[in-house]
Subunit: 354 residues, 2 copies
């Protein structure tokens, strides 16, 4: 265990703090992309953080647009942008040579650069040298912070809510964002805590939890959700699933380090097997809830399921309403689809405030 | 989840193979150490892999000796050594400047260099250049292999046994080594699979599982224990504990990826709390066994506890014998201390062959 188990210095270390200056606001960089599918990140940012998206910048030949104003780096800076966000993917995950000049322009105009691509900005010598000289940040959001302490298991002040799921990619991020926004609207002192790259870009801060070395994963979750005032609520983006044959360790480390007081169980009705793993059946919501309580109580014995979030995007209004009502009756818990909102979602929020 | 969940290429990748040429046999490097406590690695190697330890090499001023022949690099090579193993720690984990010349000598004499120190051999330009030129390996055993695939969850051929524990540092490695050796003595086709640095040095191969990025931990365990003939047994060194507030994720990823058919539950009688975490009580052996079965059955529904290993090093012979008998009665399982061996250990081995 990396020497941590016998090295008291590691464990008694102060929780490191996340980079204090948040990322953005953003100028969305679209490269020369001609396929909308490659611009998922840019569209996601416009959907979830429109107030953080000042404009977009595309190279000649690009046909994709998010519909927000087209601005030069200088214009964007003047309007308040502080980072160029690479909002498109490339087929191999690399940064093409002809992007370097516009990226250097962004640095010169006063913008940091934020990327979620596989290739690291800091590995490109011209960008690294220019950023160093100009005092700008190159932020690869797939890269976790350098100094993550071993988890202490110490109970922290403030409240925490985690979204957990029966599988990957079925609404844990969406649910956490929706709940955080809605509670903020109710006047709750709440912070969305991002654990994946898109979430980090939306929030402007966070830790890519699945990129953390195994020994430090619970420590990273502790670092992400530090001590807070007693009525402050962290709403933490869940990752993976405790029932996933490849990613359960990520989910468990996040659960243990987060020490949540509450969780929302997320599921997509109709999904029967782990995405891409046809031999692995999904657990029932009851199994997910009882397993999360059983494992999560190690670091927070008071852990409670406050409700269920169903991703009913594939269903008709009526069918979704009926299913939500039936599941709520069956489980004896608030059940809602945050996208549909409404009375059931308000009841789910009530539970998060309870 | 690092894109793995949506990228079929990752999942269908062939299992990468471990470095094919095993490490060693070794010349143990003791530096100029004057405190026996710093030479734990060297003594551990002499205890567990005496046939792989050809000799020792110390610098002027050293007062520590393992008792095996003192040899120069050339003498050691002539006697079959193929790697210099750094068998001592330094206070800061760094490689002192005055070690560089003897390490370069080792490379020239035909030896690889193997290190478990925090500082990486490959980060020392003189060593890197010389090793490159001479075709030698610099092996930092804390560094996992470069290409670890995402876990597939696919059932593999052959049999697997994992040691699990109520805590860190109470005999999981020792138990796995003892069981593997003893079964080999019975003629079983068995391989000890190392998951920590000392184990890797003893075995000459392995993966430092707690240094693997979280997304890949189950994949690393799959890679470590590949398909084998139906009667082959992998005995896998466990790590951490499912009940550890910092390291449970490591234990779960190792459990899921190993897909063990059998496990041995390890415990140190008298230890009541997690080492260094006085607020965390250890689970009972019953809790450890039922939790391991509950979580492990995700990737191997046939998972079975075949016995218990007790570290009774702090007890008298008689007290240990009585406790072993009482625990065996209470749990209805073979219970033994592999260090003490005897009839109870033979019964534990019988269970591993069952």
């Amino acid at each position: 265990m990396g020497g941590g188990a016998t090295d008291p210095v590691d464990r008694s270390a102060q929780l490191a703090t996340l980079e204090t200056a948040p990322l953005g606001p953003y100028l969305l960089f679209l490269g020369d992309t001609v396929e909308q599918g490659y611009a998922k990140t840019a569209f996601g940012l416009c959907d979830w953080a429109p107030d953080r998206c000042i404009g977009e910048l595309a190279l000649p030949g690009a046909t994709v647009s998010t519909g927000i104003p087209r601005l030069s780096c200088r214009e964007a800076y003047a309007k308040g942008a502080r980072a160029l966000l690479i909002g498109v993917a490339t087929p191999g995950g690399a940064i093409p040579q002809h992007w370097i000049a516009p990226l250097l322009d962004a640095l010169k105009a006063g913008l940091d650069i934020v990327s979620g691509m596989h290739a690291r900005l800091t590995d490109i010598p011209q960008l690294a040298a220019s950023a160093e000289m100009l005092g700008r940040r190159l932020v690869d959001v797939r890269v976790p912070p350098a100094k993550i302490p071993i988890a202490t298991g110490r109970k922290r002040s403030g409240k925490r809510l985690l979204t957990v799921g029966t599988d990957c990619a079925l609404g844990k991020k969406y649910t956490a964002l929706s709940v955080a926004r809605a509670l903020e609207g109710r006047g709750v002192d709440v912070t969305f805590r991002a654990t994946g790259q898109t979430g980090i870009m939306i929030a402007g801060a966070g830790i890519p939890i699945d990129a953390v070395v195994s020994d430090f994963i619970a420590g990273a979750a502790e670092m992400l959700t530090p001590d807070a005032s007693p009525d402050h609520l962290d709403v933490i983006e869940g990752q993976g699933s405790l029932f996933h044959p490849a990613y359960a360790a990520v989910s468990l480390g996040l659960l243990h380090g987060s020490q949540p007081d509450m969780f929302i169980a997320c599921h997509e009705p109709g999904r029967t097997h782990v995405l891409g793993y046809p031999d692995f059946a999904l657990p029932s919501l009851e199994e997910l809830i009882s397993e999360t309580v059983a494992l999560g109580k190690l670091t927070n014995p008071a852990l409670l399921c406050v409700g269920v979030s169903l991703n009913t995007s594939g269903m008709s209004d009526q069918a979704a309403r009926q299913l939500i009502a039936a599941e709520s009756d069956r489980l004896g818990l608030p059940v809602a689809d945050p996208v549909r909102g409404g009375r059931t979602f308000e009841q789910l929020l009530d539970g998060c405030q309870g």
